[in-house]
C-alpha cells in the first residue's frame, strides 16, 4: 500500500505541474506529457501493490479501452472536439460511478459515511453519463439543438430531485436493500437527461464545461469511497477546472448558471415575438465587390463563429489571410469567449489551419483594435457581434460582452441565410450603414473571395 500511496503523491505532483505548463502554448505539450507520465506511474504502482486483482481481466479491459481511445483521438476532426469532450466527460463519470457501485455490491458492511459517498459518486457519475450523451446528441445533430421544453417541466424536475433525496435517505438507512440502489441509478440517469434537454445549442459551452466539472466531482467522491488520495486530488483538479471554465462561459454571456440551466434561451417562440416588429434593410454584395473593399484595407480583423466550424472553413480563412498579409496588410483574429461550441473551440480550429496563436486575440485585447480597423470580417458569428447587447434592455442577450465590430470602417458579414442566431433574435448590425452582407457557405465564399482578390 505504501508503494501505491507514494505513487499517487508523485502522480498528483505531475498532474499539477502538467496543468501549470498549460499556461503557455510553448510548454503546454510538455505539460501534457508530464501528466500522462503521472497517470502511467499511478497505474503501474496500483497493479504492483494489489495482489488480489484479476490481471488477465484488467489487461483485456486496458487493451479494449486503449484501442477505442486511440481511435477516437486519431480520427476526431477538430470541428468535432466539443462532441468528443462531451462523450469523454460521460465515460469519466460512468467509470467513477461503476467503481463506487462495485464497492457497494461487494461490501455487506459499510459505514454511513461510505454509503453516503457511494450515493454521491453514483448520482453525480450517472447524471454526468446521461447528461453528456444528450449534450453529445445535440452537438452531433442527433437531437435538435433547440431547447426541448414542455409544460410543468420545472415541477417534474423538482419532483425528481425530491424523490432522489428520499431514495438516498432510505438507502443510507438500509444499505442492504438493493432495490433502493437501483432506484438511485435510475433516478440519477433520468435527472441527467431532464437537466440537459432544455438547454439550447449556443449554451452548449456552459453545459460541456459543467459536465466536465461533474466528472471530476464523481472521481473525487469515488476517492472518498476508496479512501484514495490519487482520486481525490485528481477529481478536485478536474472539478475546479470545469467550474472555472463554466464561470468564464457564463460571464461571456452575462448570464447566471441558473439562467443557462433553467432559462431555455433560444426558443423559437421568443424569436417570433422579437422579430415581428421591425424589418432590417440590408446590403448584399458579391465576393467580387467585397474583394475591392479588402483591396483598400490596411487592417483586417476576422471574427470566427460556429458557422466557420460547420463549414470547415478554417483553411480557407488562412489562405485569404496569407494573401492579404503578403500584400502587407495586418490581419488579426477576434475570439469571443463563447464563440463555437466549447471553450477555446475557435482557437483549436485556427491552430489546425496553421494560424499562429499570437494573432488570436481575446475580447479584452481586441475590442480597442476595431476603432482603426478597415474591415471586420464576421464569419458565421451572430449573437457575439450584436450591438443590441449594449443598449436594448428587452433583448435576451442584453448585457452580454460583445465584439465591437460595428466600430470598424466596414463590417463584412458572411452568413448562409438571414436566419437568426441561436439566441433567436435578429441582429441590427446587419442593417447598419457600414455593414455589408455576403451570403453563402463560409468555405465557398472565402475561396471565391481569394480568387477575386487575386484577379484584381
Amino acid at each position: 500500500m505504501l508503494l501505491s500511496n507514494l505513487s499517487y503523491v508523485l502522480a498528483s505532483v505531475l498532474f499539477i505541474l502538467g496543468i501549470k505548463k498549460l499556461s503557455h502554448p510553448k510548454t503546454a505539450r510538455q505539460g501534457n506529457a508530464l501528466a500522462a507520465l503521472g497517470m502511467f506511474i499511478a497505474i503501474i504502482a496500483t497493479l504492483l501493490s494489489n495482489g488480489q486483482i484479476d490481471l488477465k481481466l484488467i489487461l483485456i479491459g486496458v487493451l479494449i479501452g486503449s484501442a477505442i481511445g486511440a481511435l477516437f483521438a486519431i480520427k476526431v476532426e477538430m470541428t468535432q472536439m466539443p462532441q468528443m469532450v462531451a462523450i469523454f466527460n460521460g465515460f469519466g463519470g460512468a467509470a467513477s460511478a461503476l467503481v463506487a457501485s462495485a464497492e457497494f455490491l461487494k461490501n455487506g458492511d459499510m459505514s454511513t459515511f461510505t454509503v453516503s459517498t457511494i450515493i454521491i459518486s453514483v448520482f453525480v457519475g450517472t447524471l454526468t453519463l446521461t447528461g453528456s450523451f444528450i449534450a453529445f446528441g445535440k452537438l452531433q445533430g442527433f437531437i435538435s439543438g433547440q431547447p426541448i421544453v414542455f409544460p410543468g417541466q420545472q415541477l417534474i424536475n423538482a419532483i425528481l430531485a425530491l424523490t432522489l433525496l428520499v431514495v438516498a435517505f432510505l438507502l443510507v438507512q438500509s444499505p442492504g436493500e438493493i432495490n433502493y440502489f437501483y432506484y438511485l441509478v435510475a433516478f440519477s440517469a433520468i435527472i441527467g437527461i431532464t437537466l440537459t434537454i432544455p438547454i439550447g445549442g449556443a449554451d452548449m459551452p456552459v453545459v460541456v464545461s459543467l459536465l466536465n466539472s461533474y466528472s471530476g466531482v464523481a472521481a473525487a467522491a469515488t476517492g472518498f469511497v476508496l479512501m484514495n488520495n490519487g482520486l481525490i486530488i485528481s477529481g478536485a483538479l478536474v472539478g475546479a477546472s470545469g467550474l472555472i471554465l463554466t464561470n468564464i462561459m457564463c460571464k461571456g454571456m452575462n448570464r447566471s448558471l441558473a439562467n443557462v440551466i433553467f432559462g431555455a434561451v433560444g426558443l423559437k417562440t421568443e424569436a417570433t415575438e422579437n422579430t415581428s416588429g421591425k424589418q432590417i434593410a440590408i446590403k448584399s454584395y458579391s465576393t467580387e465587390e467585397a474583394a475591392m473593399i479588402f483591396d483598400a484595407a490596411e487592417k483586417v480583423i476576422i471574427v470566427p463563429g460556429y458557422g466557420l466550424a460547420v463549414a470547415q472553413a478554417q483553411h480557407a480563412v488562412r489562405e485569404v489571410a496569407e494573401f492579404l498579409e503578403s500584400k502587407n496588410r495586418k490581419v488579426l483574429y477576434a475570439i469571443h469567449p463563447v464563440a463555437g461550441r466549447m471553450p477555446g473551440h475557435m482557437n483549436v480550429l485556427l491552430a489546425e489551419a496553421n494560424i499562429p496563436y499570437e494573432q488570436l486575440k481575446d475580447l479584452d485585447e481586441i475590442n480597442s483594435e476595431f476603432e482603426d480597423c478597415d474591415v471586420a470580417l464576421v464569419l458565421g458569428a451572430n449573437d457575439v457581434v450584436n450591438p443590441a447587447a449594449r443598449h436594448d434592455t428587452s433583448s435576451p442577450i442584453y448585457g452580454m460582452p460583445i465584439l465591437d465590430v460595428d466600430k470598424s470602417r466596414t463590417v463584412i458579414i458572411n452568413k448562409r441565410t438571414m436566419n437568426t442566431g441561436f439566441a433567436g433574435i435578429q441582429n441590427e448590425l446587419f442593417g447598419f450603414d457600414n455593414s455589408i452582407m455576403v451570403f453563402g457557405d463560409a468555405k465557398d465564399m472565402l475561396q471565391q473571395l481569394l480568387k477575386d482578390l487575386k484577379d484584381l
Partner: protein, 89 residues
C-alpha cells in the same frame, strides 16, 4: 471519517483554482480534453475493484477499466495532437 483526506481534498481544490486560472483562453479546449484524461484516474479505483471472486463487482470493475482507459489514452493523445498544432509565427 478521516479528517486528513478532507484536508487533502480542500487543498487540492485551492491548488486547482490557482493553476487553472492561469491557463490562457487559447488553450481552454486542450485543458478540457486534458482534464478528461486526468479524470480517467478512476482507472486506479477500477483496477482495485476487479478483485478475484468479487462477483458482479468484478465485472463492473472491468467495464470501469475499459471506460477509464478510453479517457486516459484518448484524452492524452488528442490533447497532444491539438497542442502540436499551436505554432508561433
Amino acid at each position: 471519517m478521516d479528517i486528513n483526506i478532507l484536508t487533502v481534498f480542500i487543498l487540492a481544490i485551492f491548488v486547482g483554482v490557482e493553476i487553472i486560472t492561469k491557463v490562457p483562453p487559447t488553450l481552454h479546449t486542450p485543458l478540457m480534453s486534458g482534464s478528461n484524461a486526468i479524470s480517467g484516474i478512476a482507472i486506479v479505483g477500477a483496477i482495485i475493484s476487479t478483485e478475484i471472486n468479487g462477483g458482479v463487482g468484478t465485472y463492473l470493475g472491468l467495464l470501469a477499466v475499459i471506460l477509464a482507459t478510453i479517457n486516459v489514452i484518448g484524452g492524452f493523445m488528442v490533447t497532444d495532437r491539438m497542442l502540436k498544432m499551436f505554432k508561433r509565427n
